[in-house]
Symmetry: C2
DNA sequence: CCGTTCACTCAACGCTTGTTGACTGAAATC
DNA sequence: GATTTCAGTCAACAAGCGTTGAGTGAACGG
């Protein structure tokens, strides 16, 4: 077993990051203490500071995406890609994503991270859509995905929390289809 | 001007509650301090404690809905009611709702309050829907509403934040229609 | 084998927080 | 008008937090 100085260091750093991700995902930024992270990683709180500088920077590192921007190119059309992506998320989010979602409403950095991730998905989606309001439609679809994921994974909304991902995707398919690929709806009924 | 003891007390309590709602809505539970609430209400921190007992109970009181369960009965059908309700929310949420949403992912009580409010809406919606999976469809529509509201009001998702509520409702109509009132979609394509 | 480096710990700091008890002065009661 | 009541303040406490600097011992390089 390698116990060189460099390896020990790398392993400790990794254990701290894993512990931080788990705790940030479960409790959010504010309720997670450096002391708790250190305890969960089996090290001294001071070591966390020495490695990451501050709680802030620990969070940034813990939340930094693993740079695997989910290769979404399937042979299927946009709708099926979208539904598949949703199914995956409903199957279980990685701690990194959970941590971002958990704190996005109360911590500025998490909000920025969430905004960036969601904007990325909106842009990717919009690129595959026709029409002038492609961007807005993509944003709405992404918001739908966000709401369903939150209701299913973090809020445990009764009928949603227990529903199997496949059934959710099935019920959602016509709506997603209508939102993404159907011809633009007529303007609002509000004659001047 | 009435300055009886009872009236002064009532007014102070109300000022504290209003300040608390605003701050809870802006910063969430953890980042809001009793001291900040007191300062914003122009009173001593100790008074807040004397009136509400604890930060916890202040939050519960501040978040307690005003018991106006939004009379949703219009002459229109379910879809238009839903879209109208969404439009209203996009026009601006009351501080009480904002405070609940803001902390629902990081504070257990806020999570419970949000779950309760969302479940209420799901039930009301499901009651107006036909079919076996009415509850699940209602939950999905509510999740959609939640996601769009969050993206629009709290996360400022670029294309969504600036879009007028009417246009959002317009683009969403076909999708909502498909989700709520169209015949049930066929089972997933996954032939054994 | 000796000196340096560095992962890691220990004990403490300064600060903010929620919370409390003693106090003050004006309104209420008689 | 004396006494009680109560809205509101003041000063302080205990606890927990992020953070720091000095110290220790084993791995490293010569």
């Amino acid at each position: 077993m390698g116990s060189s100085r460099a390896e020990r260091r790398r392993r400790s750093e990794q254990r701290i990051l894993a512990a931080a991700r788990t705790l940030f995902a479960e409790r959010g930024f504010e309720r997670t203490t450096i002391r708790a992270v250190a305890a969960s990683a089996g090290v001294d709180p001071a070591l966390v500071m020495q490695y990451f500088g501050s709680k802030q920077r620990l969070f940034e590192r813990a939340v930094r995406a693993s740079a695997a921007p989910e290769a979404d190119q399937g042979p299927d059309d946009v709708v099926e890609n979208f539904l598949e992506s949703l199914r995956v998320k409903l199957g279980g989010l990685p701690p990194v994503s959970q941590a971002t979602l958990r704190s996005m409403l109360t911590h500025p950095d998490a909000a920025a991270a969430a905004r960036s991730a969601l904007t990325d998905q909106i842009d990717r989606l919009a690129a595959a859509l026709p029409g002038d309001d492609a961007a807005l439609r993509a944003a709405l679809a992404t918001a739908l995905m966000l709401g369903v994921t939150l209701g299913h994974q973090m809020l445990d909304l009764p009928p949603l929390a227990d529903a199997p991902p496949d059934e959710i995707a099935r019920l959602l398919r016509p709506a997603v289809q209508a939102l993404l690929t159907d011809p633009p709806p007529p303007p609002d009924r509000a004659p001047a």
